[in-house]
């Protein structure tokens, strides 16, 4: 099998001392980021990105993806021990995880969470290993119209399937696409939307915006809340780990179901949160005694964690194969690829085999190492929360500023970061989603190029988007998704589909 051989090659790339050390550093930093209040996966990766600028792309992506795995693991620690979900997708983990901790079964819950994260990611990585090369070789045949149709599909699915009010998603997305166009136009070389400012010539850097939107605004939001916390300290003994693992086969249906949900939703944008709730709810619905959920049932930890991680990992699939990120963090990793001079998209599998397979291999290895690391070091990381936020907050601010400055060595970017921090704070408070903005900002210029190239090719005829079966079906699907709420409503009226019950929080 070709994928298998290439994967082995990837492992060979990885197994050097330097990469392994970077991997450990990445995981530790990631768990740190996941545990600390006011920091999460996307901002952690964005802030630490500058560290990797001088590395070669393979080491850089290995370290960054390990930060990501670490953050995913770290989120579970605070959910279970402190009832504070580090990320939106760990909310469902608190339902049964925290009660378990209260009953003195914290170690069991943590082991379950870490193990199921591991399983979820593993399933998703397997999917990536075998599916990504196929999709990318298929996508090599894509021309500009196909690519534009795929971008359109991504944007439309955000609007059509998102939970937020539609106009807010549209605002966030069009703003992102607009800001992506600031600066020099790549096709004609003309200046756009710079208003004579020399600083805006460079354009608005995606990573600067992300650091502000997620890092700075998160600090502001965190300060609004009561930061007092009381939690359980737990250390995990080998005995507990083994007993949880021994019971694991009993829950194979739950694990498999959640992995499947996660992989499916992960590929569509913004899926991890939905996946974790769906995983939890389905486990509850299919259980023989649904009322025991929420009172400290181990399946209530398995189900959402597996789904969230499967989805977080499979979000990297469209990024690798098509250059379209499936989640905020994937979008930042994509931004990283561009900084290192790699062009995301299907050509990556052809031109940078070392890089791609190194990354995929690092997903396997990072998860195994991460699992061992978190299982052994939970008490240390849990005690990080003792550090007062008054000490943590300014350090995060400084890290954000370093990150923002380092990208283009521009003082202006630090101010831009501050501005985006305020924007992010206000947007979050009035419910304008940030994920579509991030995605639009990173994809904006590529989407525009694809659009213009296809228009130039067709002489300005929009029919080019329906010129063959492939591009036609993608475009049609995109438009169907855009109007999905309307279509769904009509179908429901006819009685074709059943309304799903709203997810209880």
């Amino acid at each position: 099998m070709e994928a298998f051989g290439l994967l082995l090659h990837g492992f060979a790339v990885l197994l050097t001392w330097k990469t392994l050390v970077l991997m450990m550093v990445g995981l530790v930093l990631g768990i740190f980021v996941g545990v600390l209040p006011g920091l999460g996966g996307p901002n952690g990766v964005a802030i630490l990105l500058p560290l990797t600028f001088t590395m070669d792309p393979t080491s850089a992506i290995v370290m960054l993806s390990c930060i990501y795995w670490g953050a995913l693991f770290g989120g579970a620690i605070t959910s279970i021990l402190f009832n504070i979900p580090g990320e939106a997708w760990s909310v469902a983990t608190t339902f049964d995880g925290y009660p378990m901790a209260q009953q003195g079964r914290a170690a069991e819950a943590l082991t379950a969470a870490f193990t199921s994260s591991f399983i979820g990611s593993l399933v998703a990585v397997l999917l990536i290993t075998f599916l990504a090369p196929m999709i990318s070789s298929f996508a090599l045949k894509f021309g500009p119209p196909e690519f534009f149709a795929v971008y359109l599909l991504t944007f439309c699915s955000f609007v059509g399937l998102g939970r937020e009010p539609k106009h807010k998603t549209v605002i966030s997305m069009s703003l992102g696409l607009l800001l992506a166009g600031v600066g020099m136009d790549t096709v004609s070389g003309q200046l756009r939307m710079t208003f004579g400012s020399a600083e805006l010539l460079r354009g608005i850097n995606f990573l600067v915006a992300v650091i502000g939107l997620f890092g700075i605004s998160e600090i502001l939001l965190t300060m609004e809340e009561r930061l007092a916390l009381r939690g359980h300290a737990a250390s995990i003994s080998l005995r507990v780990v083994l007993s949880v693992w021994k019971d694991l086969p009993k829950y194979w249906v739950t694990l498999l179901r959640s992995s499947f949900i996660g992989c499916w939703l992960g590929i569509t944008p913004g899926g991890a949160i939905a996946a974790s709730f769906m995983g939890y709810n389905l486990a509850k619905r299919f259980a023989r005694d649904p009322e025991s959920f929420g009172k400290g049932r181990i399946e209530g930890v398995f189900a959402p964690e597996t789904a969230a991680h499967a989805s977080g990992t499979s979000a990297l699939l469209p990024m690798l194969a098509l250059g379209i990120p499936g989640s905020g963090t994937a979008a930042i990793l994509l931004g990283g690829l561009m900084v290192w001079g790699l062009n995301p998209g299907p050509l990556l599998f052809v031109e940078h085999k070392d890089f791609v397979w190194g990354l995929i291999a690092s997903m396997y290895l990072g998860n195994v190492v991460g699992l061992v690391l978190v299982l052994t070091t939970v008490p240390i990381f849990a005690s990080i929360l003792r550090v007062p936020f008054a000490a943590v907050a300014p350090m995060i601010v400084v890290s954000c500023a370093i990150g923002a400055y380092a990208i283009q060595n521009a003082m202006f970017d630090i101010w831009l970061m501050l501005g985006f921090g305020v924007v992010g704070y206000v947007f979050k408070k009035i419910g304008i989603p940030l994920a579509p903005f991030t995605l639009a900002l990173v994809l904006g210029s590529r989407a525009e190029d694809a659009f213009r190239l296809s228009m130039i090719g067709s002489g300005g005829d929009l029919k080019v988007l329906w010129s063959n079966g492939l591009v036609g079906s993608i475009t049609t699907l995109a438009i169907a998704l855009l109007f999905w709420p309307v279509i769904d409503g009509l179908l429901a009226r006819v009685g074709w589909t059943q309304r799903a019950r709203p997810v209880p929080r």
């Binding site: 003195g104 106009h167 549209v170 696409l177 003309q190 600090i219 930061l227 939690g231 630090i414 009035i430």
Partner: protein, 180 residues
């Protein structure tokens, strides 16, 4: 439920009170944001129209794509404005309470000052001042702890970025005195 094994307890003495009066409602902010976004859309739309938002012999002009996006943005924000105006009359959701606003300002103002100081004295000096000042004044942490933490963190950042990874940060007169 047993509370006996509570081992990690962190208190937050300056937490915002729950009964603090609201400064402004979400609806009002939504209206302001929609107005600002609409103004931005008009401004960008005008700029793109000036650049050229139609078709020429080579295809779409540079302003074409962003022009229509600003139309979409303008439409979205107008819709948001109307929606906010309608719901505004009914329920007033709190955007921020006075106590919360005080806490947010306690972070925002130092961050703003930090950016200013960075501009003139370099990032590392600003970082030291921010961490030490914030810990001491906002966190009420002992002076020596604040100074030590600030110094250590700044030093670690300096060694990591400027020395080990060659990521050069803005510097000021102090670093110049040490020959960096």
């Amino acid at each position: 439920m047993s509370q006996t094994d509570l081992e990690i307890v962190v208190d937050d003495p300056t937490a915002p009170e729950d009964d603090s009066p609201a400064v402004v409602s979400s609806g009002t902010i939504e209206i302001i944001v929609c107005l600002l976004l609409f103004a931005l859309a008009v401004m960008l739309g005008y700029d793109n129209w000036r650049t050229g938002a139609s078709w020429d012999s080579t295809g779409p002009e540079p302003g074409y794509f962003p022009f229509y996006l600003s139309v979409i943005l303008g439409g979205g924000s107008l819709y948001g404005l109307v929606a906010a105006l309608i719901t505004h009359r009914e329920a007033a959701q709190t955007f921020v309470t006075r106590a919360q606003a005080r806490r947010v300002m306690a972070v925002f103002v130092p961050t703003l000052l930090f950016c200013l100081v960075t501009q003139f004295l370099g990032l590392y000096v600003a970082s030291f001042l921010l961490i030490a000042g914030f810990m001491r004044l906002v966190g009420k942490i002992a002076l020596w702890k604040s100074l030590l933490t600030a110094f250590l963190f700044t030093a670690i950042m300096f060694v990591t970025f400027d020395v080990a990874f060659d990521v050069i940060m803005p510097k000021g007169p102090l670093e110049a005195a040490f020959g960096y």
